[in-house]
């Protein structure tokens, strides 16, 4: 049996204590230990951005981080964006994505949302080029990104609020 390390962390406002192997990726920890499978794994080498989560408010690729490195931190995953319930109340960014058809297969979407949330906090009214640069670390094979840009612009302009 390999050595285990005790960690404690808060995910979407819920505190968890677990013992994990040092090599366990944060992405696998979230998906397997906590069964928060909304965080998707697309490449496991830090390029595609599908596994992006917020660690202490910053967008981080959870496939490039070990769970033990998240000890003591506060994490937000896609499951933590909307209020729960049978028909979830979507976060404004989620609603903007739905309204602009900014997702097709939806696999990259959780990582895109969590990349954009801290970006929008710092850039509440970004222009198209700034949005494209913010998105450029997240790969999407379905949309061609245009509808994501439109979703962010619509949100910034307050459309539908």
């Amino acid at each position: 049996m390999r050595e285990l390390h005790a960690i404690q962390l808060t995910v979407n406002g819920v505190r968890h204590e677990r013992s994990v192997e040092a090599r366990l990726l944060l992405s696998d920890f979230l998906r397997q230990e906590l069964e928060l499978t909304g965080t998707h794994v697309g490449c496991e080498h830090g390029v595609c951005g599908a596994c992006t989560v917020l660690v202490d408010g910053e967008a981080v690729r959870s496939c490039l981080m070990f769970a033990v490195q998240a000890d003591g931190s506060e994490i937000t995953t896609v499951e933590g964006l909307a209020d729960g319930g049978a028909v979830p109340d979507l976060h404004p960014l989620q609603a903007a994505f739905r309204d602009a058809h900014a997702l097709q297969c939806g696999f990259c979407t959780p990582g895109v949302l969590l990349t954009l949330i801290p970006f929008l906090e710092q850039n509440p009214d970004p222009d198209e080029q700034t949005i494209r640069e913010a998105l450029s670390g997240n790969l999407c094979r379905c949309t061609g990104y245009q509808s994501m840009v439109e979703a962010v612009r619509a949100l910034a302009e307050g459309v539908g609020r």
């Binding site: 998906r31 697309g42 496991e44 297969c105 990259c108 379905c142 245009q146």
Partner: protein
């Protein structure tokens, strides 16, 4: 029928689940006692397996079992030939399909040799290096033309050469007209491979319930029903005891229609051996070898035209790279042969291909499916002919379009669906003119380009046309039902990989039933819910399954009206279906809710009339005799830096005709996504194999998927030429965006640089390769 929903830009039913992380993808399946599999794959493209010893791996911590080909016994069988050879006269075809685990020899890098099953993926991967495998390398062949040389290393010993197929298709008599031509353009064109690269890799979870005798498989497949049927046959189980679920799939783009992948064959067998569920999820590096690829073809083509640029004939001879095995038969090269004809009148056509086995991963369709190389050849030859005759590139296309009264148009050659290539309908000129208007084609050439040129900027424009055969048979089905709660369910067999079926199929049904789109609960791709059908391929979901949904909803509407007429004592013609109720038009207070009708349609006691079918439910099927042919025009403005050969696509316009549109927002998304894929295929994405057929760029660090800063904004518009071949008038839209991008890019780059002798006759390009071509043209000049 009211058409409130068909054609409306409705937001998608599935989005809330996807946006909140609640949608189930295959890797999200977690089962009690689930084991994890990892595969040992060949590092060599061509080698003999001389020794294989798994004993140390079996002892590794957490390992439950290790299997090799020898352990599979009778279960070890080459996979099925998916598409039997099309009925082409004098066709030569040699079939060699993939095996579950390599036995004596490996034929491409990444071919699986052994599978480790352990308590965790980590432990399964720990054990892989403990497997002792001795591989004696054999000379490998990467290039399909070299593979057909007489002294090439033989990939399949049972054949005399690496020739997988040879086919000639002809219409008219090209040889007889070539001497009459004012101009014959002859060129060698080269098209290389790319990856489909969906964001979700492939994966399989298999779970055997011994007590129920029931196998459940979650699979990232585009074809769950054929997988179910095949697994039942292979495992000797009744089809009713095998359930295959393709839940939410993170993009398909073609390779997820391939079957059977070795992992799809092995995981169900493993769970039956061990009695525990087992999961395998492909990692990204594996996907570069273990998932099928596409588009390598080498063409020697010629176009004969008269002095006005009218096409007299085309002759095209090409070599098609099938990869190490050819389970997908000849769909791709036949699509190439057929799609090359494009929207044009081509009276004489000679097309010949040879398919070659190579030591590279298996080839099967990727978004476009053989069409890109054909469109590339035709559009490039037209561009060159236009230049040599001094005709504008738009004008030469206009002169050759099939006129709107030429339909249905039978080309007289065999298409991928084994029937004659027939275009159902088309109207090509309006799309060309609309695209030119949107991109301001003439003003760009007359004013903008010279002004930019004077500033020392190299900005060019391109415009090309294409067609796409879509929506082919055989058939799909759907069942629409209403529960006593009033809930409307719709189940169909095709799987969904992001196309919005949960919404577009709901739109079709909602119109018939007088309910809201959000009230129709759609299930796709679960054989437990609907078990007849073939799959999602050839841009056929909306056309074939969409029309099946329509037929089922129409039948259910009839059933509701008849029952309601009895209950309300009114004639069916006097009734209307509104908001989940049937009511008398002139007296809306006389109404009955669907749920109540559903209760009465399923009585618990008492008698019913003989022949009564229970429930408020209808099932219907649709199988088109012929597919429907979509078409379009793409235009682009691109700036090229002649010093660095970097390009900047500044504008992109698509005018697309897919007949009647169910949901314009979804169609626009499909088109723009396809364009992004196409731009990747032009300038970013190339699978680079060395002379040993070893892949050099098997990661997202090295294989470049276009990002948000690489893909330009795309303006789209729509021309509507309904298909006469299906009741809804639909044509497919899923692949179109990616099809004509390559020749468009080539034309625009040449137009930007205007270097004499620069001809882009290969794809994909890269800054390096474009720079080399530029240097060669300048030197030759």
């Amino acid at each position: 029928m009211s058409a409130a929903h068909f054609g409306a830009a409705v937001s998608r039913n599935e989005d809330a689940r996807l946006l909140t992380g609640q949608a189930l993808f295959v890797d999200d399946v977690q089962l009690e006692g689930m084991l994890h599999a990892a595969f040992l794959r060949s590092d060599y493209a061509h080698a003999r397996i001389t020794n294989l010893d798994v004993s140390a791996a079996q002892e590794s911590e957490g390992v439950v079992a290790v299997y090799t080909a020898a352990d599979l016994g009778e279960y070890w069988q080459p996979g099925p030939l998916l598409v039997p050879p099309q009925p082409i006269e004098r066709l030569e075809f040699h079939c060699a399909t993939q095996v579950p685990l390599a036995k004596d020899k490996v034929r491409h890098v990444g071919e699986p040799i052994a599978v480790v099953v352990a308590r965790s993926r980590y432990e399964a991967e720990d054990a892989l290096p403990l497997i002792r495998v001795e591989l004696e390398p054999l000379p490998a062949v990467a290039n399909p033309v070299a593979a057909l040389e007489p002294d090439a290393p033989r990939i399949h010993e049972q054949f005399e050469s690496n020739l997988a197929a040879h086919a000639i298709q002809e219409k008219g008599d090209y040889a007889s007209i070539v001497d009459q031509a004012a101009l014959v353009v002859r060129r060698h064109l080269d098209h290389d491979r790319g990856a489909s690269a969906p964001m979700e890799n492939r994966g399989v979870v298999a779970s055997w319930d011994r007590k129920c005798g029931e196998l459940t498989v979650w699979d990232t497949t585009q074809a769950p029903i054929p997988i179910r049927n095949g697994l039942a046959r292979m495992l000797g189980l009744p089809e009713t005891q095998v359930r295959v679920i393709a839940p939410f799939i993170g993009g398909g783009f073609g390779p997820k229609i391939m079957m059977f992948y070795p992992e799809e064959v092995l995981l169900p067998w493993v769970t039956m051996q061990l009695g525990q569920p087992v999961k395998w999820i492909e990692d990204r590096q594996e996907s570069f070898f273990a998932t099928t690829q596409e588009r390598s073809q080498v063409h020697d083509a010629e176009l004969a035209v008269d002095a006005e640029g009218r096409i007299l004939g085309v002759r095209d001879v090409f070599v098609y790279d099938a990869g190490a095995y050819n389970p997908y038969g000849l769909t791709l090269p036949i699509n190439t042969q057929c799609t090359l004809l494009g929207p044009y009148e081509v009276p004489n056509y000679y097309t010949e291909f040879r398919a070659a086995f190579t030591n590279k991963p298996i080839v099967s369709p990727i978004r476009g499916a053989g069409r890109q190389p054909g469109v590339f050849v035709m559009e490039r030859l037209l561009d060159i002919a236009a230049r040599e005759l001094g005709i504008d590139v738009m004008e030469i296309r206009r002169r050759n379009f099939l006129p709107p009264d030429a339909f249905p148009h039978d080309h007289g050659i065999i298409y991928q669906d084994s029937a004659s290539l027939v275009y159902d309908s088309g109207n090509y000129l309006p799309a060309l003119e609309r695209a030119a208007e949107m991109i301001d084609y003439h003003r760009f050439l007359d004013e903008t380009q010279p002004a930019l040129r004077a500033e020392g900027r190299h900005v060019g424009i391109g415009i090309v046309s294409y067609v796409e055969g879509t929506g082919i048979g055989p058939y799909e089905g759907a069942r629409v039902s209403i529960e006593p709660s009033g809930r409307v369910n719709l189940a169909t067999g095709v799987g969904t990989q992001g196309q919005g079926h949960f919404t577009s199929f709901a739109q079709i049904a909602a119109d018939q039933l007088g309910v809201e789109v959000a009230d129709v609960e759609v299930v796709t791709g679960d054989t437990g819910k609907f078990h007849w059908g073939t799959g999602t391929f050839a841009s056929r979901g909306a056309v074939v399954a969409g029309n099946a949904c329509h037929a089922a909803a129409v039948a259910l509407r009839e059933k509701i009206l008849e029952q309601a007429a009895q209950e309300l004592e009114a004639a069916t013609a006097d009734l209307e279906l509104v908001a989940g109720t049937a009511r008398v038009k002139e007296a809306p207070e006389r109404s009955i809710a669907f749920g109540e009708l559903a209760v009465r349609a399923n009585p618990l006691r008492g008698g019913v009339k003989p022949g009564t079918e229970p429930g408020l439910e209808a099932t219907a099927y649709f199988g088109p005799e012929k597919g429907s042919t979509a078409s379009g025009v793409h235009a682009m403005i691109v700036e090229v830096d002649p010093e660095t050969a970097m390009v900047d696509v500044q504008r992109y316009v698509v005018v697309h005709d897919c007949g009647k549109v169910i949901n314009p927002t979804i169609v626009r998304g499909q088109i723009i996504g396809g364009v992004a894929h196409g731009i990747g295929n032009c300038f970013y994405e190339q699978l680079v194999f060395d002379e040993n057929a070893q892949l050099q760029n098997a990661s997202f660090m090295d294989y470049l998927i276009p990002t948000a800063t690489d893909v330009p904004p795309v303006d789209t518009d729509h021309i509507e030429t309904p298909s006469p071949f299906n009741p809804l008038g639909i044509k497919g839209a899923g692949e179109a965006g990616a099809i004509p991008t390559n020749p468009l890019f080539a034309q625009a780059v040449e137009n930007a640089l205007q270097v004499p002798g620069l001809e882009v006759l290969e794809m994909p390009l890269s800054p390096n390769r474009l720079f080399e071509l530029l240097c060669a043209a300048r030197e030759a000049d």
